[in-house]
Every structure is written in C-alpha cells, then in structure tokens.
C-alpha cells in the first residue's frame, strides 16, 4: 500500500452527515503527519490557507514546514509545476509574497526569479504586500452584486475604517473586492481568510467584525 500513500486523502473534516472518523475515511493507506495548525494533510500546501499570525521573517522552510514542502514536491513532476503550491506554503507562513520571498522560492525550486515574479503576479490570491490578520474578500461579482454586495463592501470599509485594499490602523483587517467565490446561491458571499461567510447583508457586518476581534482576543 505504501507506494500510493495519498490514494484516499479525502477527509474534509466531520460534516455531521455521516458518523465517520478520520481513520475511516483515510483508511490505513494514509501515511504522514498532520501539518501544524490543524490543516488537513491532503491540502497541505495546495490550498491558500491563512493563519491569523504570520511571521514575515520566517525561514523558507524549516522544521515541519520543510517536511510539508518536501512532501509536496514529490507530487509534482517538475519544479515549474510545484511553484504554485510552494508559493501557497510561503504565503501561509509569511502572510504575503514579497520580492524577497519570490527570490527565495526561485532559489528553492531552481527557477528564475523573473519567472516566479510573473507567476506570483498573475494570480490575485497571492498577496504581494502585507495584509491584515484578517483578509476580508467581498464578492462583487454579478450574483452578489445584484443582492447588495456594494452595500456590504461599503459597510466593511466603514466599520474597519480603511480604504479598499489598505490595512486598518490596528493591522487587523484588509478589505478587498473578489471575483466570484462560487457561492452564487448565498449572496453576498464574503471570504475572510479561509472561512466563508454566506448570505451576508450590510447589517451583519458589525457582528462579524466583533466576532473576529473576539477570536483574536481569545487567542
């Protein structure tokens, strides 16, 4: 079994619909360890997961991050193919992809720095500059827009007290517009770090922000 360690990595957490444990879903074929922060191994470095606290000066990559990076490399045929997940991992660790990070990632994968810059700037989900602890992405695409996304966006900007795309003065929030978040059935959809908030109306915004702040204080 060991030659296909990731044959069945489909554990998405307990959704409550089935009484299945993680072991039931993964089966005995799974090898490896959970990455830190409770991220599912199957999504390690292939999902833009944002931790609340990041370390822009963290080394690329050390300790458990190194393990994740090396495990991830085994899944991709070429360095070019492994670039996107490597950037994901770097962003997860450092919070944004700075020019220095691009250069370091290029060095790690043996690609040219210019190529890494081209890729990193093509994808909007890589933050090219530091963002707040919570990155609030408000969908303003058609379905949400028809159901009041503009008001939701304005409410976020008002309650956060920052310009679009700018960090709030306490460093907690950055509000940006996003294209379709694929939750058209639940407009307006807002993605805050890795979490979706659906059916958001302008009136819900203060409560959401309050909850986020209380989460921060609780840590």
């Amino acid at each position: 079994m060991s030659e296909t360690p990731f044959r069945n990595p489909g554990w998405a957490g307990n959704t409550g619909e089935f009484e299945l444990s993680e072991a039931d879903v993964r089966g005995s074929a799974f090898v490896g360890r959970r990455p830190p922060e409770g991220v599912h191994p199957s999504t390690s470095a292939s999902y833009p997961f944002m931790r609340v606290e990041r370390d822009p000066g963290a080394k690329l990559f050390d300790g458990p991050w190194r393990e994740r990076f090396e495990k991830m490399l085994t899944r991709y045929p070429t360095a070019m193919a492994a670039l996107l997940p490597t950037l994901n991992l770097a962003q997860e660790l450092r919070g944004h992809i700075s020019p220095e990070t691009m250069d370091e990632v290029a060095g790690l994968l043996g690609l040219s720095s210019a190529y890494v810059r081209g890729v990193a700037t093509f994808y909007t989900m890589y933050n090219k500059r530091p963002v707040g602890r919570y990155l609030i992405q408000v969908c303003t695409n058609i379905s949400c827009s028809l159901c009041g996304a503009d008001e939701v966006l304005a409410a976020f900007l008002k309650h956060v007290g920052a310009e679009l795309g700018e960090n709030s003065s306490d460093g907690n929030f950055t509000v940006v517009e996003a294209e379709c978040l694929a939750a058209c059935g639940f407009p307006t959809c807002v993605q805050i770090n890795e979490r979706y908030f659906e059916d958001v109306s302008a009136g819900d915004v203060p409560a959401i922000l309050k909850r986020l702040v209380s989460e921060l204080e609780g840590e």
Binding site: P99, M102, D103, L111, S112, S113, A114, Y115, R117, G118, T121, F122, T124
Partner: protein
C-alpha cells in the same frame, strides 16, 4: 501517401487556390511563406518556439470546425487552406481591433514606425475606426538596462522577448508580470538586463515598438535608412549583418539571417561597436615625402612614382597588415610583395578577448576571442600574428627594417615616431594619419570595410562577402584597387575593375581559394573546405 505504408516525405496541399508541396512537418504558416503568402503573425518567430497565443495567424482550413493557428498547425496532404477568405480576414480585423484597444497609436514618435507589424497589418486589414470608447491604459516606459528600453503601452504581449531569453539566451530574465490589460514585460523588479550579452536581440524580434534600442532612439526613421548587407567586423565569428545607414553614417547594425553562422541573432558586443566606421578626420588625399617634405599628390602621379620605386627595389619587404582588411586587400598586398622583392616578414596585430561568449541556445554563434573579422583570412594568406592580446607591440623588427616597409590598415598607434626611419621605402596605406607614419614615403588613403566590397574569412573558415554601405571620404580608394593598380604597373597587367575581379585574380594564385568567386560565395558565404569537396 506511399502505398507501402510508409509516409511520404512531402505533403501537397492547396493554399489560396495554389498547390504547394512541402516537407512533412511544415507548419501552414511556413507552407504559405513558400508560396510567397505572408500570414500575419506576432508570437511566431522562426528562431523560437510557437505558443500560438497572438491569434492573428488564424487561417481557414476546410473541414476544420473553426479557424486554425497556422504557426502550429502542421500541413497535411490534401488540405485546402484559405488565408484570405472572408472568415479569415474578418477574424484578423477583429483581433487587430482588440490589439488597438490599448495601443497608443503614437507612431509619429515611435522608433518602430515604418517596420512595425502592427502598423502594417492594421494599415492593410484593420478597421477604419475602432469602436472602443474607454480611455486607454497608460504605463509609460521602463529602462531594462543594457541597450533596451520598454514601452509597455505599445506591447502586444507576443512574448517573443521572454522566449528569446528563455530558449536562446537561456537566461530567463524577462517575464510577463501581472495579467489582463495590466500585463507588462519586466525583469525581476530592478534587476534589468545588465550583463546579458545577447539581450539586444529582443529589440530586433519585437514586432512592435515596445522594445527599442536606447542607442538608436529617435536617431532615424526606418524609411530613411539604407540597408547594406555586410559582415560584423567586431570578432572573427563574422555574423551576417546589415549596415543601416543614413546621411553616409552607420546608424545601427542589425543581424541578417544565416542559419550556418548566426541564425537570426548577433551579440551586443558586435552590435554596439559601429561608431568607428563613422569616425571623421580621415586621410583623404594621397601624399608623398617624409616628414616636412610631405606633399599631397594625385593618384596617378603617386602610383607611378611608387611603382617606379618598387620596380627598382632590391631590399627585402616587411609587411604589417590589419585583420580588418578584406581578403582581396591582404591578398593583393602579398602578391605585390612577392612581385617586388624578397619577403622579410608579413605580420598582423589584433586585439584578443580573454574568453569566448557563446549563445547557449544557438551554439554556432560565439563571440570569439579574436576581435577582428579576418584573422583566419590573414593567416590563410601567409600573415603571422605578432604583438600582445591588446593588439599592440610586436613591431620592433619591422620598425627598424632597412628594406621596404608596407603598412596596411594598422594605425601604428603604439609605435614610436621613428618607425620606419631606417627603411629604404616606407608605404603607409591607412585610414588615419599617425605620428608613426611621419617617415612614410607614400601615404595612400584606403577605405574601411564599410566603404568597399570584399570578403572576410571567419573563424569557421567560411568566406563571406560584405557590401558597401558608405561612400569613401575624399579620394580614398579600396586597398585592393590601389594595390591592384601597383601590381598592374609592375606586371604590365590589368587593374581589377571591382572586388570580384580582385578576388578572381587571387583565386588563381592561392590554392585554398581556387575555384571560388564572389558569385559562387553568394550572400551566405562558403566554407573553404566545402568549396573543395
């Protein structure tokens, strides 16, 4: 197709109603080119891979559900292709309209104007008026370092430059940054193209005015330039080039395609060194007499006097020649020396670089150590290298030689004022007067390679012709003509009328050149060994 199951080597297809047979594997674009039909294209370049992303080379292929990109669609037997059907033309018009949505149309101040693909295609097939109402986005320009300047507004995102740096220079410094209408070509932030020794080629392959040469910026309009086929004189690789001239000045050098020497490319070292061809202060009239006695004279009088001195010569002959001179000139000088007396020495000096600089993606092209175009020609004609790697020194024996001294093309810049003082006869054929030529009995003004026709032998031992791009100053004449006239005096023969005749006279005498002529060398050159195979 052959009946035995093996595929034939050629396929026959019909393009725009005309049948053409091309080798299997040829793209539709190349097959059309074989018929003289140019399918518009931006991203396709014969020296690079084809990503089929510019969408302007789409052609109609009968039986295919939609238009096909001709740069990557391989020609098939029996195919019927329309490059100029209503469908294809309508598509091109639509694509061009999209290209113009953000293009600034600043042709009056654009360096590429006159040789720009976008200008040509829009003029030929574009809409009379665009329908875009929105303001165009504006980037300004970016200095890439080296000789390259980038105007993001004009860019059509063909990525030829990115692919050149990736595939040919193998130095992936350029990339497309950002996406959509914010996309620009850039390097890694401020790292630039400094130190990339072949980066100037991205200016050549840019189909629009996005990448331009800083050196050529606003110097001349493309339609004012005359193009003379030539050979790069800056190293012994002998890249095939064109001299682009205006007002009798070389304005820039551009590579000329030769798949056996330089492909489509040339190096920045060669490209940037052309100013010396425009240098003024040349010797313009023949002159006779040493030092204070020097006086200008006309050509017939000078040559007759010199021929008379040579006819009565009994001394040994020492020659200093320059490998910037043509095969014809070097050959005529050695013939003349043979006719006029015993040879004492025949030497040349030329600068040598510390290393070679190859183009990784096109290994035939190397910036060679010898920084002169005709070093191998000089060797072939019996001249030996002397002096140091900076092209100086090594002339002590010649300087004190007591017989006849000929200096051809060497400026003697490092030589003392008493150079040739002991010589019975000192003949200086050159372009610039030099303090070391003050003892010359005859000063004969000759032309540079840019002002004459001739041939060089490159480091591959390939004989290559170059054409005349500039008018000679004053009454300077090609060295092969001056020396040929002297030879005619001595042998009572005929003066060659042109470089081809001078070469033919040489080919009779030099075994390595036998059977060759300017005609047989042609525009692409011939290897010495191949000519005798």
């Amino acid at each position: 197709m052959a009946s035995n199951g093996r595929k034939a080597d050629t396929v026959t297809l019909t393009i725009d109603g005309r049948e053409v047979a091309v080798p299997r594997g040829t793209s539709l674009l190349q097959a059309a080119a074989a018929l003289g039909i140019e399918v518009p294209h931006y991203c396709y370049h014969p020296g690079l891979s084809a990503p089929a992303q510019c969408r302007i080379c789409l052609v109609e292929v009968e039986g295919a559900p939609k238009l096909q990109p001709s740069c990557v669609t391989i020609a098939q037997d029996g195919q019927t292709v329309h490059t100029d059907s209503e469908l294809a033309r309508g598509m091109r018009q639509g694509v061009l309209e999209f290209y113009l949505v953000n293009h600034p149309l600043d042709c009056p101040i654009c360096d590429m104007s006159g040789e720009c693909s976008l200008q040509d295609y829009v003029f030929a097939e574009g809409r009379e008026r665009g329908r875009a109402q929105e303001p165009k986005r504006v980037f300004g320009r970016d200095d890439f370092g080296g000789d390259v300047l980038y105007y993001g507004d004009r860019c059509v995102m063909c990525t030829r430059c990115v692919r050149f740096m990736d595939e040919v220079a193998r130095d992936s410094r350029l990339t497309v940054v950002e996406r959509g209408d914010r996309a620009v070509i850039d390097t890694f932030f401020d790292s630039g193209l400094d130190g990339a020794s072949f980066a100037g080629n991205v200016v050549d392959i840019c189909p629009v005015g996005a990448l331009v040469s800083k050196d050529f910026l606003h110097k001349a309009r493309a339609w004012d330039l005359d193009h003379a086929p030539s050979v790069c004189p800056n190293c012994s690789q002998g890249c095939n080039i064109e001299l682009h001239t205006r007002d009798n000045l070389v304005q820039r050098l551009k590579p000329r395609e030769n798949p056996e020497v330089n492909g489509h490319w040339m190096c920045d070292y060669g490209r940037s060194r052309y100013e010396w061809m425009n240098r003024t202060g040349r010797i313009e009239r023949p002159a006779m007499g040493r030092g204070e006695e020097r006086s200008e004279a006309d050509w017939p009088g000078t040559l007759e006097a010199l021929a008379a001195r040579l006819a009565g010569n009994e001394g040994e002959i020492a020659i200093v020649a320059s490998p910037f001179c043509s095969v014809e000139a070097l050959g005529a000088l050695s013939q003349l020396a043979k006719e006029a007396g015993e040879a004492a020495a025949a030497v040349f000096r030329s600068p040598r670089a510390g290393d070679e600089d190859p183009l990784p993606g096109f290994p035939l092209l190397v910036r060679r150590r010898d920084l002169a175009p005709n070093v191998d020609g000089a060797r072939l004609l019996g001249y030996a290298r002397t002096g140091t790697d900076d092209g100086s020194g090594g002339l002590d024996e010649v300087a004190a030689h007591r017989g006849v001294v000929f200096v051809l093309g060497d400026d003697l810049n490092d030589q003392p004022d008493d150079f040739g003082a002991a010589a019975d006869l000192f003949v200086y054929l050159g372009t610039f007067d030099s303090p070391a030529a003050r003892n010359a009995d005859f000063v004969l003004p000759v032309t540079t390679f840019a002002e004459e026709e001739g041939t060089f032998v490159n480091a591959q031992r390939r004989v290559q012709r170059f054409g005349q791009g500039l008018r000679a100053p004053g009454s300077a004449r090609p060295a092969w003509l001056v020396l040929g006239a002297l030879l005619a005096f001595l042998k009572s023969g005929k003066t060659p009328a042109n470089a081809a005749e001078a070469f033919a006279a040489l080919a009779d005498e030099i075994p390595a050149l036998s059977g060759m002529s300017h005609e047989s060398i042609g525009p692409g050159g011939v290897r010495l060994e191949a000519a005798h195979a």
